[in-house]
Amino acid sequence: MKRNLFSYGLLGAFALAAAGCSQIESRSVAFQRFDPRPGAEAEVYVGQAPTRPYVELGLVQAVGTGTEATKQAVLRSLRAQGRQMGCDALVNVDAQAGSLSAHAIGVCAQWARADENAPQTERLGQPTSK
């Protein structure tokens, strides 16, 4: 009985330690002031640009460690951050994973509308973080 309790305790401690060591963080920085408009899932473009016109809004980044140190996990987090920011697409996405951490970064883009012609002027707007 005592032995069983000890084993379960040890197992629980390992699980807690593993969970505590895993985390994923996403961040973004804006090129220009804009109103975040959370919307649908952003399309991800790796190694190619969208064919439809778009406006660059900023950069989004995701970093994962522990069990979250996978390309899938950081891309999922990047998309979530992009959705929160109001990106229609994530362009020029680079995702890399090592054995201890994974990293993804991309350009947040919004599809251009006929009435929009936003200048892409960097004003170091309001960085946001999740």
Partner: protein
């Protein structure tokens, strides 16, 4: 060695160690400007996924940090590099992480009782290679004339 030199060296070492401990280990580079332009203090146009195909190249810029470097710190640093070169436009050519397997990892082993460390610590080397990850943003600092900027903005979607 003169005493003030020793003091200066100690101060530099302490500052370096402090920066390392606080995690402020980001590096940034700016190539020597091709022309001695005065620093630009105004806004910087950013082209993160396309090339404006205009303007005068002032130099190459890049910022680098460890895997956990924050884009909210790296990007403004890159913009400052562009401004320092006198540029009013930044073209980001590459961004991402790079993973590299280093030499054998170094660790510490205890050489005594439970409270022996750090005085009883002995440096040892493990067989497992160390992984180093760097995050880098690379680009070009450009000077675009007002006419060029206007034309690019007009052509922009």
């Amino acid at each position: 060695m003169p005493r003030f030199l020793l003091l200066a060296a100690s101060l530099a070492a302490a500052l370096g160690a402090g920066a390392a401990v606080t995690g402020c280990g980001g590096q940034s580079y700016a190539s020597p400007p091709t022309s001695a332009a005065a620093p630009h203090r105004g806004p910087v146009a950013v082209f993160a996924s396309r090339d404006p195909r205009a303007g005068k190249l002032l130099g190459l810029v890049s910022v680098k940090g460890d895997f956990n470097s924050d884009v909210r710190e790296l990007f403004p640093e890159l913009v400052r590099k562009v401004q320092a070169l006198g540029g009013n436009a930044l073209v980001i050519d590459a961004m991402g992480a790079h993973y590299e397997e280093g030499g054998p990892g170094a660790g510490f082993s205890k050489n005594g009782g439970l409270r022996a460390c750090p005085f009883g610590c002995r440096r040892s080397s493990s067989a497992a290679p160390m992984e180093t990850a760097t995050v880098e943003l690379k680009g070009r600092a450009l000077w675009l004339t007002p006419a060029e900027l206007e034309s690019i903005e007009r052509e922009a979607p």
